[in-house]
Every structure is written in structure tokens, then in C-alpha cells.
């Protein structure tokens, strides 16, 4: 199973590329001091809005800070922080969605009503409320994401579990006495993991943007520290005179989000045997359809 996943993934060039990009971004973020050529917060007013040079590969911003270094340090809140928050909220949502969708009845009703309550508040308002209670800072924004997003994930995952649980192979497993937890792990999770991957990767992008929105409002990452969304907002002030300043953080966001999207797409293809290429040779000899129709019985 794992072997097949790996061979299928390595056959897909786009998957290898996006895996490499994600790996590089994560590594650069984790070891930012090694990769960054300069101190991201070192102000040098002589180099305000300086263009790209050999010394400063991506140029300097409105305070003369090295953009490349700020970009690399910005991976930490933008990618690593968001990934952690995403992981927690998806895990919580997936767990509750699985339980609600599989066991149905009262369990389902209780979990879904709690979700309804969570979803009835606009996301931004709730985040503002949580930040208002707990105070300003990146950690609290991420905590707010974790507390709010799970309801949405639980909803979507429940819907796909409900559909998957109708399948006859799950009925068969229940009849032959397979314990519920085994059925969930062995039969339901692989089928719904495709949906989980799609919702997780698509909300990854929107979470990066939301985080930058809060940073812009001054609620998230605090001023001298680098964050991609905040870099975009700083560049916005000089949007017409220096539009190139938006390129670096903008492209970084686009690149990361698309790499994650392609990755989740490739992962689905590699996991799903009906889409896999390695078994094609079987498929051709396997199906010899019987085309007889009619009432020939007895």
C-alpha cells in the first residue's frame, strides 16, 4: 500500500515538483537564520526602495530592510503557523465529522447543533472577539482559527462520511462483526481522505490571506516582525510608485498555495486505485463484459 503510493507519486512530475517546493519552503522556514542572508529587521535608511542587487537579491523595502530575509523569516508565521492551526482544526473537524456521520442519531444531532452555533457567527467577528478576550498576537489569531474552523470541516467531512457509510462493504464489515473503530479507520477514512485533502488545501490559502488581513489590522504579527500578508500591506502604500514591492510576498503566497493544491491533487490520484496508472495492464485484460440481456433464468 505504502509502496504503491510512493511509486505512483514519483511517476507524477507535478507531484514531485510541488513536493520539492513545499519541502524547500518548510526547510527554509524552520532554518530561517541559516538561509536568510541578512537580519530581517535591520533598518538601513540609505537603501530605501533599493532595487535588486547581488548583495540584496530581492531588493529592500521602505525601511531599507532585506526583502529576501523578511520573506524567509515570514515563512514561520505564514506557512508553519497556519499549517499547525490547519492541522489541529482539520483533525478536530475530521474526528467529529467521522463520529457524527458514522454513528448518526443523537451523537450526530448534538455535534451538528454545536456546529450550527459555531457557524452562525461570521468568522471574522468571532476571531475579533477571541482576540479581544485573549489579547493581540499571532498565537491568539491561530488559536481563534483552530476554535472556529473545525465546525466547517466537521460539516463537510460528515456529509462525505454519510455518503461513504451507505456502501455495502461497510454493511458487510458490520455484519461480520468488525468493530466500529476498525471500520472507521480501514474503510471510511481512506474514502473521505480525498475530501479532507481538498477542503484542507483550499482553506490553507484562505487562512494565509486571513492571517495577513488580521496582521494588517494590527491584531496578528506585530510590526517589526516579518509576515507575508503584512509585507503585502506595507507594499500597498506605494502600490503606484513601487508596484514591484508586492511581487515578492504575492508570488510567495501564490507559489505556496498552488504547491499545496497540486500536492493534495496528486496525493488523491496516487491513493485512489481507480485513477492509478500502475494497474492499467490488468484493467485491459480484466473486463470481458457479458453483453447478454434477457430473462434466461429458470
Amino acid at each position: 500500500m505504502k509502496m504503491r503510493l510512493l511509486t505512483n507519486l514519483l511517476q507524477d512530475k507535478l507531484a514531485v515538483l510541488s513536493l520539492a517546493v513545499i519541502g524547500l519552503i518548510l526547510a527554509a522556514g524552520a532554518m530561517a537564520p541559516v538561509f536568510a542572508p541578512h537580519d530581517p529587521n535591520a533598518v538601513n535608511m540609505d537603501l530605501r526602495y533599493a532595487g535588486a542587487s547581488w548583495h540584496y537579491l530581492l531588493g529592500n523595502d521602505h525601511l531599507g530592510r532585506c526583502i529576501l530575509s523578511r520573506l524567509i523569516y515570514g515563512i514561520r508565521p505564514s506557512v508553519l503557523g497556519v499549517l499547525a492551526a490547519l492541522f489541529v482544526s482539520v483533525a478536530l473537524g475530521a474526528f467529529l465529522g467521522l463520529v457524527a456521520g458514522y454513528f448518526k442519531g443523537k451523537t450526530d444531532a448534538v455535534i451538528m447543533r454545536v456546529c450550527d452555533i459555531m457557524l452562525s457567527f461570521p468568522g471574522y467577528v468571532m476571531t475579533l472577539a477571541i482576540v479581544g478576550i485573549l489579547g493581540v498576537g499571532l498565537g491568539n489569531i491561530l488559536l481563534a482559527f483552530m476554535l472556529l474552523k473545525w465546525a466547517w470541516f466537521a460539516r463537510i467531512i460528515r456529509a462525505s462520511v454519510l455518503q461513504a457509510a451507505e456502501a455495502d462493504y461497510i454493511k458487510f464489515a458490520r455484519i461480520t462483526g468488525v468493530p466500529s473503530i476498525t471500520i472507521l479507520l480501514r474503510h471510511v477514512v481512506p474514502v473521505v481522505s480525498a475530501d479532507i485533502a481538498v477542503v484542507a488545501s483550499s482553506s490553507f490559502g484562505s487562512m494565509i490571506l486571513q492571517l495577513s488581513g488580521f496582521s494588517f489590522l494590527g491584531l496578528g504579527v506585530q510590526a517589526p516582525n516579518a509576515e507575508w500578508g503584512m509585507m503585502l500591506n506595507e507594499a500597498r502604500d506605494v502600490m503606484f510608485s513601487r508596484p514591484e514591492l508586492m511581487l515578492a510576498p504575492g508570488l510567495a503566497i501564490v507559489l505556496t498555495v498552488s504547491a499545496v493544491n497540486f500536492m493534495s491533487d496528486a496525493l488523491q490520484t496516487a491513493l485512489d486505485p481507480t485513477l492509478s496508472k500502475t494497474n492499467r495492464k490488468f484493467r485491459e485484460q480484466a473486463s470481458l463484459p457479458v453483453k447478454l440481456r434477457g430473462k434466461e433464468v429458470a
Binding site: A167, I175, T176, R186, F282, E296, V297, A298
Partner: protein, 250 residues
């Protein structure tokens, strides 16, 4: 003692939303028994509640009232039931997990029952052989099988743990005519070999008459008549006679 004893079973589903108290009775006061080694056909139209009855017999659902006892114990107790009850379903496309190979699908009930220690890969070959497939099918995925092949794999999976009885809900109904006949013959042969009981739920009286010892006519949640297959022409109830007429004229 009867293998399966069903006595005064009622089942209803609530219709409407969460706060609605309306209930629709699907199965009403059903009683019958099934002897070891017997094949009982349950014949009824779609919507007659025969699949609900099948789910209760298989232990998937609890009846509202009445008892469904298997060898004297309630059938919905998973631990009591073990792997001695099995099932084959109508929809062969969703009967095998699309992520499983044929071998993994057949090994699943064996693993659950702890029989995989005694039975190894060669037993999968043997099971496949018994349903008329060769060992090369082991590595295939469900989407690489035709309807008849998939249903044979389901049968192989159902007999893997040597169950005492198998519930078959429209097991041949979605197959083509000639394949239906082949599968019915296979079921007949397997039953002789393993001395199993079948609960053959279908809307097709012809298929039921071909395979079963006794036929239970089921209509609107009630048992209309239970009659031995040889005695079929002497059926008394209006519904049974109606179905028989339909078969003769078609």
C-alpha cells in the same frame, strides 16, 4: 432447535423531521423459523420491507419489538454473532472497498475472526477457485472486475469464514440473465459443500424457486404465505397466486 427464530417482529421508521412523531411501520408482526441447512427465499416487491427484514436478520438493525434469535441468542449482539453470519448484496459496485484488492477484501472477515492465522494466502486462492475465478484475480481492484466477477468475489468473501448462514439481499438481481444463472448454480453447489443456510431475499420469484427450499411471500411488511417450493402451484394466498400468474404469463 431452529437455526434462526424470528418471532413477532415489528420495525418502524420515523417519517419527517426531528420533531415529527409520525412513524411508518415497515415490518409488522413477522414470525418464521429457518432450519439448519435450509434455503429460504423471501419474495416481495420493492418497498415491501423485505430488505429491512434482511437487515434485522443480519444483525444490522434491532427490531422495535419481537425477537430475532440465532441459535437461541439475539442476533444484534456483535460478539455473539462473530463471523458465523455473512452477507451478499445487490450492488456489486459498492460491495468491495475500492481501495482494497480482491485478496484484502477476502482476508478482511478472516482477519476479524482471527482465522487468518490458520488460513493463509493459499486459502484465498482456494476460495477464488471455488467461485470459479483463478488466482490471478488476487491482486486486482474492484473497478477491474466485471459485475459477475465482482459478485463472485463477494460470494468468496462471504463463505471465507464458513458461516452458518448467509443473507443475500437481491444478490443476483443486478446481474445479466446468463450470469445470474451461473451465480445461482454456484450458490447451489457451495451450499451443498458447506452445509450453509441461505436467506435469499429477492423480487424475482423465478430465481427464488430455482434456488430455495421454501419461499416466503412478503407484502407490505407482512408474511402472506410460507410454502415449500415443490408445493408452489398449490399456493393459497392471493398475492402468491398473483406473482405466480405473472411468472407464467411472462
Amino acid at each position: 432447535m431452529a437455526l434462526l427464530n424470528i418471532s413477532h417482529v415489528f420495525k418502524s421508521y420515523s417519517a419527517g423531521g426531528m420533531f415529527a412523531r409520525r412513524a411508518q411501520e415497515v415490518v409488522r408482526d413477522v414470525s418464521f423459523a429457518c432450519e439448519p441447512g435450509e434455503c429460504l427465499g423471501i419474495v416481495g416487491e420493492s418497498g415491501s420491507g423485505k430488505s429491512t427484514l434482511g437487515r434485522m436478520i443480519a444483525g444490522l438493525e434491532k427490531p422495535d419489538r419481537g425477537i430475532v434469535h440465532w441459535e437461541g441468542r439475539p442476533v444484534w449482539d456483535r460478539r455473539q454473532r462473530g463471523c458465523r453470519i455473512s452477507a451478499v448484496f445487490q450492488d456489486y459496485t459498492s460491495s468491495i472497498n475500492p481501495f482494497f484488492t480482491v485478496e484484502e477484501a477476502i482476508m478482511e472477515p478472516l482477519r476479524t475472526s482471527g482465522m487468518h492465522k490458520r488460513k493463509d494466502r493459499s486459502s484465498v486462492d482456494l476460495l477464488l477457485e471455488q467461485v470459479g475465478l483463478n488466482a490471478s484475480y488476487r491482486e486486482r481492484y474492484p473497478h477491474e472486475l466485471s459485475g459477475g466477477e465482482a459478485q463472485r468475489v463477494c460470494i468468496a468473501r462471504a463463505i471465507a469464514t464458513e458461516p452458518h448462514y448467509i443473507v443475500m439481499d437481491e444478490a443476483v438481481s443486478s446481474l445479466d440473465g446468463s450470469v445470474q444463472l451461473l451465480v445461482l448454480d454456484l450458490l447451489k453447489a457451495l451450499r451443498r459443500k458447506y452445509a450453509m443456510s441461505y436467506m435469499f431475499i429477492t423480487h424475482d420469484l423465478q430465481a427464488a424457486a430455482y434456488l430455495c427450499d421454501r419461499i416466503l411471500f412478503f407484502k407490505e411488511g407482512r408474511v402472506e404465505e410460507i410454502i415449500a417450493t415443490e408445493q408452489l402451484r398449490n399456493a393459497q394466498s392471493e398475492y402468491a397466486r398473483h406473482l405466480l400468474r405473472m411468472v407464467i404469463t411472462s
